[in-house]
Amino acid sequence: MAEEVTSRAATVLQTTVEASRSVRWYYEKVTAAKKNNKPVVWAFGLVPREIWHALDIPVVTLEHFPLLLAAKQLSGKYSQVAEERGFTRDICAYHSCFLGAALSDQLDAYTEKRFPSPDIIVASNFPCNQEVKTPQYLAEHYKCPFFYLDAPINPWGEEIKKHAVEYYETNLERLLVFLEKFGYRPDWAALQESVRLSQHLLRLWNKIVDYRKKAPTPMGAADGYICLYPLFQLPGTGIAVEIYERLLNEVRQRAESGLGVVDEERVRLIWAGLPPAYNLGLLNYPERYGAVVVQSELEWIGGAILDPEALNAKKPLESLARKTLLDFVNPTYSNRINLWKRLTREFKIDGIIAVNKRGCRNLPAGNRLIKDTVYQESRVPMIIFDLDGVDNREYDDAQVKANIDTFVESLLSKKGGRKQ
């Protein structure tokens, strides 16, 4: 996601560079805010980002920082620091890495530059238990005020129950009250504007997605991964909208002139689970066989599966509640299953590569379930193997490639009627 990753993954779009620059832009903003004595929030779990941007609160998010460290090949190092503190190797590397970076006796030069220490910690139990435990520990460590945002789970699929939405909404209101103590006054107009921008962003995103369904696809997962930052981190800001407008233009042009990621697209794949942030080139790896990873699951995180029209700027908190509760990373799987069925159909997918992230209690456990349901519906196969997208210490190139090679080989032979 960071600029340094761009070199590793072969991207085809111009706008990708721009999207990755927004990362630096945002962190510089956070650092500057800290210098001006604005309280910095560390946020964990999927707390709706629109709130931070509406109230102009500088925020460092758990979901993003370890990826930056991984891109720098530093994740293993920091995870080890957490292990030295007594955390087992079995916890999610997002957390061990973040903990390690925060607990390093001295934040090293790289980290400190981007990583102002927290004044407030906000955590949500969404999507996993660890999302609350890490911040709890850090709040104790930094002696920081701590806010816990309780999110109900969603076992109902697309029809969320009213009382659950209301409960989450109330909790968001309480968050606003809490933030007020630090001088961040709730500004209703700004919240509405933020949700409006977020809605606009989702509309753009959906148009881009439509073009990507074309064969050959004008934009692959490597670009998608890096372009995710505005959608995931900056929804509710103008800059995100600008970037996506340009992205849409570029993708449209490519699609209209028939430009694809590879010359001859033979197989279309989706990547489920986290790609290795320390080796994003892996998303391009199947291209040598004419296989393109056209989508990665991560691009749908943060409520991107929501129909943009379901957002209503007049009711910002309710809209954000819906956006969160419908997220496919919800601890129960109904929405994730629906997402997969839909993507497989709409993108004319030939095969799914799914990775089990070590230490993750959320996505891997569902992979088999999704494999079975998707296969039942569309006969599209899915290969599942272990790969930790954050921790680079145990990455085994040979093992991973053996899986991908074999999988693509079997897809090709199926398509080509087994020529060999």
């Binding site: 139990n125 996993c128 238990n129 435990k133 659950a164 601890p331 129960t332 209690r361 456990a365 379930l369």
Partner: protein, 370 residues
């Protein structure tokens, strides 16, 4: 002790109980974990039945729930896949740890039980709006249970169930408090058997047996003169006495434990005039599980146990991949050690495989406390 022997037998051969329930024509509803209100199931004329793991190694579950999910849940799910839980008419889960939540979809897809329901309880407790949200969830659950059993749950029935369960809770607590004495009249392993039996038994019968335990324990002659260090065990679920027994064999005295198969089950009682209000209040104010917020309440509770039972060392048992306790173990270890209580975090699989290494750790910890 005869009463204890009877209870232990039920834990080892739950089929005896299950046959009994079946003979009465009762529906059996499996559940996990403690945030499922048993009383509502009971008041609908059904049997709430807590699910435990078995001693057999996991075979099929690993290919469905990948291995980064706690072994306890994988074990339970494995038993279901193997057809060992066919006696269940339904399953009720609640919103606690990831492992439990993950099992929901898997159960619905792969295990054909008539009912699979998850109660969407809040994870924030001691708060008014969580209370009102949970109240709706409980009402929905009550309706669901009425529909499923075909029996109306009247407030009277519910109140009766609550007082029956409360009696079990208070009796268990009395027995548990016997361990304050030195040497204790009940060992840790015995307590575990007693509570687990009470959890799966008809409460009327359980209450009689626990009363007997209380009587018999008073004039017990075979009290062990085990004056080793007083230890508190807490952490992930322990559903077989092996670990507790190991600590006792190594010379430690398990003076107290805080487990969902022991004290967490009965520590508080359901209080209040209106039964639904009482249940709602109970669930949102017990806060004895690390999945729930705020953690300070739990820490305070542990510290109280440590004081009351004159605990000298704490063993934190983590089942591999059990995040709530893994994190809590690290956090509380730092805090407790600052107050002079040594804490050993013991990570192991649900089946306690590699018991040799565990032995070394436990033995060294006890040697350290002598």
């Amino acid at each position: 002790m005869k009463s204890l022997e009877t209870m232990r037998r039920y834990v080892r051969e739950p089929q005896l109980l299950i046959n009994g329930y079946r003979a009465l024509g009762k529906k059996i509803i499996g559940y996990r974990c403690l945030y499922v209100p048993e009383e509502i199931i009971h008041a609908a004329g059904m049997v709430p039945y807590p699910l435990f793991g078995g001693p057999e190694p996991i075979s099929l579950a690993d290919s469905y729930l990948q291995p980064y999910i706690c072994e306890f849940i994988r074990n339970v799910f494995d038993r279901a896949l193997e057809g060992k839980l066919k006696f269940l008419d339904g399953l009720v889960l609640c919103n606690t740890c990831d492992a439990v939540r993950k099992m929901y979809d898997h159960w619905r897809t792969y295990i054909k039980t008539h009912l699979c329901y998850i109660i969407n309880n809040p994870q924030e407790t001691y708060s008014n709006h969580a209370y009102s949200y949970y109240y709706i969830e409980l009402q929905n659950f009550r309706l669901e249970m009425e529909n499923f059993s075909g029996q109306k749950i009247t407030d009277e029935n519910l109140a009766r169930s609550i007082s029956l369960y409360n009696e079990t809770r208070s009796l268990l607590k009395k027995a548990y408090l016997l361990r304050k004495q030195d040497p204790a009249a009940l060992s840790g392993a015995e307590t575990l058997d007693m509570v687990m039996a009470a959890m799966i038994m008809p409460k009327e019968e359980a209450n009689t047996l626990i009363r007997d335990v209380l009587k018999e324990a008073g004039n017990r002659v075979d009290r062990r003169q085990n004056s080793g260090p007083r230890i508190l065990i807490t952490g992930s679920i322990i559903d077989q006495p092996a670990l507790i027994r190991l600590v006792e064999e190594m010379g430690g005295m398990v003076a107290a434990d805080d487990l969902c198969t022991t004290s967490r089950y009965f520590w508080q009682e359901v209080k209040g005039d209106n039964p639904m209000d009482a249940l709602c209040l109970y669930a949102t104010q017990r806060c004895l599980c690390p999945c729930m917020h705020p953690a300070e309440k739990r820490l305070a509770h542990l510290q109280e146990l440590i004081r009351e039972f004159a605990v000298e060392g704490v063993i934190y048992f983590n089942i591999k991949y059990c995040d709530p306790f893994i994190f809590e173990g690290v956090m509380f270890k730092e805090v407790l050690e600052k107050t002079g209580i040594p804490v050993m975090v013991l990570e192991a699989g649900h089946d306690l495989s590699g018991i040799g290494q565990l032995k070394t750790r436990v033995q060294a910890f006890i040697e350290m406390l002598w």
